[in-house]
């Protein structure tokens, strides 16, 4: 990937994530803001370090991207943050959620739907490509074990990934998390081919 291609992917990912956060704010009825956004090339073995290492306990909301090309979206939180998000989404006072039952999982799944479809809509608007999100899957385990799901797919064809990583938060409570977009190489190639289509 050359500098122009990298800047295109950075720009389109940034816009996708901004749109996802904007729609999340609307859904929650309160301001959610992006605290940081970064994109980098990482070896697959480095990706668990994003959460503080592969042994760290994490909750993941996992979505696959399919259609003309493939990729992965993973929203990762430490469990306390995931509980905080469930409280926010269910309109409960902070500290209410202590485990992830059906209701809380469903709320987090809805969060994944909003974030995933918002992001992919921006990609579609910029390229004309119809990329489809899968229904979200809620996972809870060691970060390394969660990311094996992504690694098992990507490592079939590549040893590295371009990871778009975002931290965000709501004004009145701690709900920061990482929004990872990990494209397969074919997704990057197809997006670059179609960037003039919009």
């Amino acid at each position: 990937m050359d500098t122009n291609e990298l800047s295109f992917w950075t720009e389109i990912s940034g816009r996708g994530i901004s749109k996802a956060i904007e729609n999340l704010s609307r859904f929650c009825g309160r301001e959610v803001s992006v605290r940081s956004f970064g994109l980098r090339r990482a070896e697959m073995s480095e990706i668990p370090d994003i959460m503080g290492g592969p042994a760290v306990e994490a909750v993941g909301i996992y979505i696959t991207i399919s259609g003309p090309a493939h990729g992965h979206i993973m929203l990762l939180y430490d469990p306390a943050m995931a509980f905080g998000f469930a409280d926010l989404l269910l309109g409960m006072p902070p500290g209410t959620t202590r485990t992830l039952g059906d209701m809380e999982r469903s709320a987090l799944g809805e969060l994944g739907n909003i974030m995933g479809s918002s992001f992919l809509n921006v990609l579609a608007d910029s390229t004309g490509l119809r990329l489809l999100p899968s229904p979200p899957i809620i996972l809870s385990d060691m970060a390394g074990a969660l990311l094996d799901v992504v690694a098992a797919d990507l490592l079939l064809v590549q040893d590295h990934a371009f990871v778009a990583q975002t931290a965000f938060s709501a004004a009145d409570r701690e709900v920061s998390g990482a929004f990872l977009v990990i494209p397969r190489q074919d997704l990057l190639e197809v997006l670059l081919q179609h960037r003039a289509a919009a």
């Binding site: 697959m44 073995s45 668990p48 290492g53 592969p54 042994a55 306990e57 996992y62 696959t64 399919s66 493939h70 992965h72 899957i137 996972l139 385990d141 060691m142 970060a143 390394g144 074990a145 969660l146 990311l147 094996d148 799901v149 992504v150 690694a151 098992a152 797919d153 490592l155 079939l156 064809v157 590549q158 040893d159």
Partner: protein
């Protein structure tokens, strides 16, 4: 008089798709956060040589490109055995243990890869059999991630889960 002391060495991290060996009795190999990946542990109890491979995918032929060979079970198992034999381990004394291979998500995995954890464990057993070895003990499958610590001095494999559950093979 010289007192014998056992010094716990810094664990040697075996990352995604890597294989590592430990050649002293104090050596510890560790794979952290195994999900659908499997860790194969080989041990020569006479020489106190231990080896661990942290493998991600069952068969190398399924990919368009290979890249890091040791991420594939069918490549990593013979590579690990060869490396241990080069270090002086004897195949006839080798003890094999296997862990990992969980099913982290239901049914079809990412991009339609079915039961990747189970396939990884099956591939590891098959690759060992091809080399004349059998898995002596294993803890595979289930739906939980694992951290595996393998001790070169004793051949003990200690497995930890989220929440603090720990047991040994």
């Amino acid at each position: 008089m010289k007192l014998a002391t056992t010094v716990q060495a810094e664990p040697i991290l075996v990352g995604l798709g890597e294989l590592r060996t430990a050649t002293t009795p104090e050596g510890v190999l560790i794979s952290v956060g195994l999900g659908s990946c499997v860790a194969l542990c080989l041990h020569d109890p006479w020489k106190h040589i231990a080896g661990m491979a942290h493998m991600v995918l069952p068969v190398s032929g399924e990919g368009r490109r290979i890249g890091l060979e040791s991420k594939f079970v069918d490549r990593a198992v013979p590579l690990l055995l060869a490396e241990m034999e080069r270090l002086g381990a004897g195949r006839g004394r080798m003890v094999a243990k296997l862990t990992g291979g969980a099913q982290m998500i239901n049914g079809l995995g990412a991009m339609g890869q079915q039961h990747i954890g189970e396939r990884n464990a099956d591939a590891a057993r098959a690759a060992l059999l091809d080399l004349g070895l059998e898995v002596q003990s294993e803890d595979t499958g289930g739906r939980s991630g694992r951290t595996a610590r393998f001790y070169a001095g004793t051949g003990k494999l200690v497995i930890s889960l989220i929440g603090g559950d720990t047991y040994e093979l």
